[in-house]
Structures are given as structure tokens and as C-alpha cells.
Amino acid sequence: VTDTRTLRRLGAGLVPVILLLALLGAGSRTGADPQAVRATSLRLPDITVERIDGVEVALGSLAGQVVVLNFWATWCDPCREEEPALREVWRRFGDRDDVVMLGLVYHDSLETAARYAREAPLPWPVAADPGSSTAVALGVVGIPETLVVARDGQVVHHVIGPATERDLVPAIRRALEGPS
């Protein structure tokens, strides 16, 4: 009888410990995938950015199009890692009128970024983000980060870390299928 009671007490004591460990385990990421996709309720801010070719782009005027925003810098190694995935995204969607892809330079010299974009070359347009105002408005914490914005301006996908085509392509497709 005593042994049974002891076992019951032990079991009752272990339940919260097991629950706590399960909760901790659920909060940590497993696997080798370095990226995290964040749920968001943010909208594309109405900020005007200037492309390295001098063209001004009012982000608010992009309503009706699916926008892919990639925050990057030339000093950022993971940004170079994700470049093939972004090239694949551009290959698939770059010729569409209803998809806009824009690289936003994060804490980097615009001159250096422009030289890199010319020499690489990057096929998608690149713009400055003075004071990181667009980055902060979209909750960006570092680079690389890539966001997919639906036609209505709602951010529908936010990748923290190097993006992959496996992740971005379906997100863009879903955004394109949404209301226009």
C-alpha cells in the first residue's frame, strides 16, 4: 500500500515536470532548417524608397500587386546564401506585371550595394531604406529577411533568415490566388 502511494505521489509530482518539458520542447526549433516564418498582421507601410537607378517607389502605390521585399546587405553572408533562391523566384515571377520584387539595402553603403547589384548582377531592383524606416515598420530584426505582401497590402509571409524557393514560391502563389 505504501509503495502504491509513493508511486502515485511520484507520478503526480512528475506530471507538471513532464508538461513543462513538453512546453519547452514545443518552443524550440528542431531540424537543420535555419529559417523561421513569422505570423504577422502588418501591412506594407506607405513609405517612398529610392531605387539605385534613381527611380522612386512609393510602397503604398503597389496595391493590387504581390510584393516580395528582401532586406539584405553586401556584408551579410547568409544573404548571399539565399541569392540562388531569390534568383529562382525572379525566374518564375519576374516577368509578371502583378508581382514586384524589391531588394532593400539594410545598414550598408548604397554605393557598395549598387556596385554589387551591377556586378553580380542582381536582376531585381534594389533600393535604399533610409533610417531603416521600412524595416522597422515591418518588424525586421536583422538580415536576411523576406516578406511577401498580398495585393491588399497585408503582409502574408515573413521569413527570418535565408529564404528558400520551397518556402517563397508557394507563398507568392497563394498571394496571387487571393483577391485582386
Binding site: G131, S132, A137, L138, V140
Partner: protein
């Protein structure tokens, strides 16, 4: 004044000094830079653990300080700015409660301390009442 009264008076004076110090540190900054710094102290840097936006040398913290300054300059209230950051970086970005009631409670602490100290000092200095004979 009796030795006991002197000790009480000294304690009351220390309480007043403490209350004044608390009031000084809680006094709202008037200029834009001061208000920016004060608000940056109330927000957590999203990439540096428990460090505030004011104390963090990270790039995102620098960007957040610029955004705080710009929004205060536009006339937004500190609570509005905090809500704006909470929407972007999560509710745990806020280091201090946004609840106005608790803010007022904190501001009332120095006044309450002065009132207590004054009462203690008045009692210590007041002539002792003659005890009624049974």
C-alpha cells in the same frame, strides 16, 4: 528632543531625501532627445535578451531609437509609440506596463512617502501629551 525622537527625525529626513530622489528620476523629460531616451528605456531590444533599446548597441535598437524619435516628433504619445512597437515586435517588447493606472500609482509613491515622513516628523517633534492619570 529625546534620542529616540532624533533617530525618528533622521529617519524621516532620509525618507524625504529618498522620495525626492525617486521623484527626480521619475520626472518626465521635456526635450525630444530626453523623451526618446526615456521611452527607449521602456522598450526591449528584440535581439539582445533583456537589454533595453536605449542601452543596446545593436542595429535594430538604433533603428528603433530613430523611429521613437520620429514618432514623438510627430506628436504621438508614449503609449501610442509603445503600442506601435508591440504590434511589430510583440507585446514582450514593452518593459514597463502601458496601463495608465499603474503609471499614476508609481508617480504617487514619492508624494505618499513625503506624507508619511511629514507625519512621523510631526509626531517626533510635537510636545508629548501629559498622560492622564488613572
Amino acid at each position: 528632543v529625546t534620542p529616540r525622537g532624533a533617530i525618528t527625525l533622521a529617519a524621516a529626513l532620509m525618507l524625504v531625501v529618498f522620495a525626492l530622489l525617486v521623484a527626480a528620476t521619475r520626472a518626465p523629460a521635456v526635450d525630444l532627445d530626453g523623451r526618446t531616451l526615456a521611452l527607449a528605456r521602456e522598450l526591449r531590444c528584440p535581439v539582445c535578451g533583456g537589454t533595453s533599446v536605449a542601452d543596446s548597441p545593436s542595429m535594430v535598437a538604433a533603428d528603433m531609437r530613430s523611429a521613437i524619435r520620429a514618432q514623438l516628433a510627430e506628436g504621438r504619445s508614449p503609449d501610442e509609440v509603445k503600442a506601435w512597437f508591440a504590434e511589430r515586435y510583440g507585446e514582450d517588447t514593452i518593459l514597463t506596463p502601458r496601463n495608465a493606472a499603474s503609471g499614476w500609482a508609481i508617480r504617487l509613491v514619492p508624494f505618499a512617502a513625503v506624507a508619511v515622513a511629514a507625519t512621523v516628523a510631526w509626531r517626533a517633534l510635537a510636545p508629548r501629551r501629559a498622560r492622564a492619570e488613572p
